[in-house]
Symmetry: C2
Subunit: 215 residues, 2 copies
DNA sequence: GTCTATATCCAGATAGAC
DNA sequence: GTCTATCTGGATATAGAC
């Protein structure tokens, strides 16, 4: 009788082609803008005619969705939890730097993952789940760094996207905002510590809104 | 002889129609997404056929450009310099709150003014000049609040866009990040003061990276 | 100043031959 | 699995009548 082959060469080939298509899509998004993506351009770049793409993806939005999922997985892969030391300032700096560097490295990817600028696109539940899981992981790690209040996490993400956004919009390719990362970490941690100290002695700090430093 | 009329009713009517067209364009941008703007839709909304728009704007990009200029002017008009008191924390809070509220009030406007997501669009020099002038004014006012270093201003703008971005992307219509504004101001001002104190005594602070609070 | 008609082009998507 | 051919609809923009 015929033995089952170990590898499914058909499926492998198919996955490779899908990856090729997505690579082409990313290249166009980076060069022409995420919203400028067209099936014709993608097809031409991989040496196909546009209708052939439908053998691999159901629609243009399905391509966006696959790109979204891929971007999320790249984000997960970029994390460096193993380099955390237990020192809050070091670890928060590590996480923030990783985030900002990842985002500024590819503005189109940042736009797809973190902004809502493509009319009609929203990630499928499966793709979105990848992103939610990663955010949970991020929150958990930040909590071990002392960012335990929801507001602390939100301030952290605001700093991350703010530095990223300014860097991409106003100094693409440079480091004008990237180089503020260490400063931002110090600022954030100082602030969280100050708030923690204040909440320990709520009576003392009451009404003394300026002039005196906590601790 | 024929006296010159005081008012040019023709020109007035024309400007009014242009304004009507822009209003329609903004409405579509808000409802369907900035990138989803089409001349047909705009025309239909003002009761015209698409070609008639060319009597008022040279191209679709010219409409985007007029929207950009209009948005910049609205930003200028939203400023409340007259409410500044001279107290740094109050004034920085005022400016930051004004910025974030202005931006979150209209996500499409924020996208057009502060992000680069429309393929092929960039503001004309005349429109861009409005924006540059406003940024200069902003920097000058922030300088009177003690944000004198370029990095301080950059940190301020990063905080502003970060809070705005997160608010728009992850809690549209809510206030999850907006309510962090006061906290952010305190955090920023504390940090700037700490840096200023440190730079006054560079020798003492050298190597003492944590543990001791400045001042 | 606005219209109709049209030019030109491009988009996403489908049918069916090979 | 990829192609050609085509459908359908949309886009921006122009020409010219009224």
């Amino acid at each position: 009788m015929l033995g089952e082959p170990i590898r499914d060469r058909r499926a492998e080939r198919r996955e490779a082609t899908k990856a090729e298509i997505l690579d082409a899509a990313w290249a166009i998004a980076r060069e022409e803008g995420l919203a400028a993506l067209s099936l014709r351009d993608v097809a031409r770049r991989v040496g196909m005619q546009a209708p052939s793409l439908y053998g691999y993806f159901d629609s243009k939005m399905a391509i966006y969705d696959a790109m979204y999922a891929q971007g999320c997985e790249q984000f997960v892969a970029a994390e460096r939890w193993d380099q955390m030391t237990g020192d809050a300032r070091h670890d928060i700096g590590l996480i923030l730097r990783t985030m900002v560097q990842f985002c500024t490295a590819d503005a189109a990817r940042y736009q797809l993952l973190f902004q809502r600028t493509i009319p009609g696109f929203e990630p499928s539940p499966e793709s979105y789940a990848i992103s939610v899981a990663e955010l949970d992981r991020l929150s958990a790690h930040l909590a071990t760094c002392g960012l335990t209040e929801p507001g602390d996490i939100d301030m952290f993400t605001a700093l991350g996207t703010g530095l990223t956004d300014q860097q991409i919009s106003n100094d693409p390719g440079g480091d004008r905002w990237v180089r503020l990362i260490d400063d931002a970490v110090e600022m954030l941690v100082d602030h969280v510590e100050k708030k923690a100290a204040r909440s320990k002695r709520p009576a003392r700090s009451n009404g003394a809104r300026n002039g005196r430093k906590a601790r």
